[in-house]
Amino acid sequence: MSTPPKIHLENVCKSFGTKDVLTGIDLDIAPAESVVVIGGSGTGKSVLLKCVLGLLTADLGTIEVDGTDVTHVAANDRDETNKKFGMLFQGGALFDSIPVWENVAFGLIQGSSMSRAEAKERSIETLAKVGLSEDVGALSPAELSGGMQKRVGLARAIAGSPEIVFFDEPTTGLDPIMADVINDLIVTCVKDQGITALSITHDMASARKIGDRIAMLYHGKLIWIGAAEDVDHSGNDYVNQFVHGRADGPIHMELRR
């Protein structure tokens, strides 16, 4: 008997006015599996992630988390499901009115009602996991570099010991070395701890490193899903063009019309 999926998406559709962004997404993510969704800018990767998180409501289809249908439950009304989630935002989305340690401990203090002292201790432990010292905890997010902000964002995402973590462009805007550091941290913090992960990116190095499976989103549908090691010989022209970053190909042709 196969393991029930941690996340189950069936025919998920989302439109904004007359613009159809997602036109039927089907995807199952198994427990402890890491799936990376790749695709060009504006193809709806972030919309897909926000639909699963409940920040946007899908127009059609079903979204299940651990077998519970959460399709039409707004994010603010699904406390139990939210407690299973961690999220690393593209720009970090750190709260600039509070210090770094409190950012990391935020979910523990507000969401899990942990005492501030205990949450601070946990926060400093989590910062150490992403290679940041206790001193960094006292700084304001505005005082951190882009790479450090990503690491703090990652620490915040995993501080509450989530079962599922979402990564929105985890390496965007970072130099290649820092991007690789973040990828290694994601692998260490997420894959090695058996956390289920759904990431979106157009950084192929990142996708290969953090993903067990890779799916390509194009024109609102997942046009290819396969093992990360198969992405270079997928046999799909769209995937090949995207993976190799070629200007010529079916994607470019459609943009020219």
Binding site: G54, L55, M87, F95, D96, F106, R156
Partner: protein, 257 residues
Amino acid sequence: MNFLALIGRVVLRFLEQLGRFTLFTLTSVSHCVRPPIFPRLIGRQMIDIGYYSLPVVGLTAIFSGMVLALQSYTGFARFNAESAIANVVVLSLTRELGPVLAGLMVAGRIGASMAAEIGTMRVTEQIDALTTLSTNPYKYLIVPRLIAGLLMLPLLVLVADIIGVFGGYIVGVYKLGFNPNVYLSNTIDFLEPIDVISGLVKAAVFGFIIALMGCYNGFNSKGGAQGVGSATTNAVVSSSILILVFNYMITELFFSV
């Protein structure tokens, strides 16, 4: 035909905005009376709205009281009614100028700052981050500001009333040559509790309006810096207009013949 379509679009857009605003207001108010409440955040907002607005409200009040005494004197002298100056100053301040001027000044200072802060949080995904950390943004961001606005404006207006009367006293006694005791007894003798109470009720309503418009415009801001700028402008303009409208309505309620 195009003209009719334009009218239709404008009406639909207005109704959509009205619906969104009503929903936001009802949701916010319902969260004000449901636990959990964050006393720490309410305290911080009370200091921000009350304590830090004291200088600007105090300066506005003292000069308003002074100019009121001076203007009343030059006008009333034509009818030999100079003795009514103290009475006019205190009634004008407690009933109208105290709450309205304090409301407008606080709308400029606090309404703008709320819209800018929450708007920036919206466009940098910090509000989405709150939701993913199991924290309801209404409870964390909106409710503390609404409660603080509702409670602090009456206190500010009470202080403004006293400072304004003091301003009138300075001009009356030291410039216009009134007897200090007579001026003070004229001030107190004609003052009814309803004069002060109506001003404080107005202040509470204005405080709620300022916080509501600041939060609503910030919460619904879109785009980047330009969106936050528009939200800030809209917050100040809409709350200023609403203050003047509600000022008339509350006056009508208390003092209609």
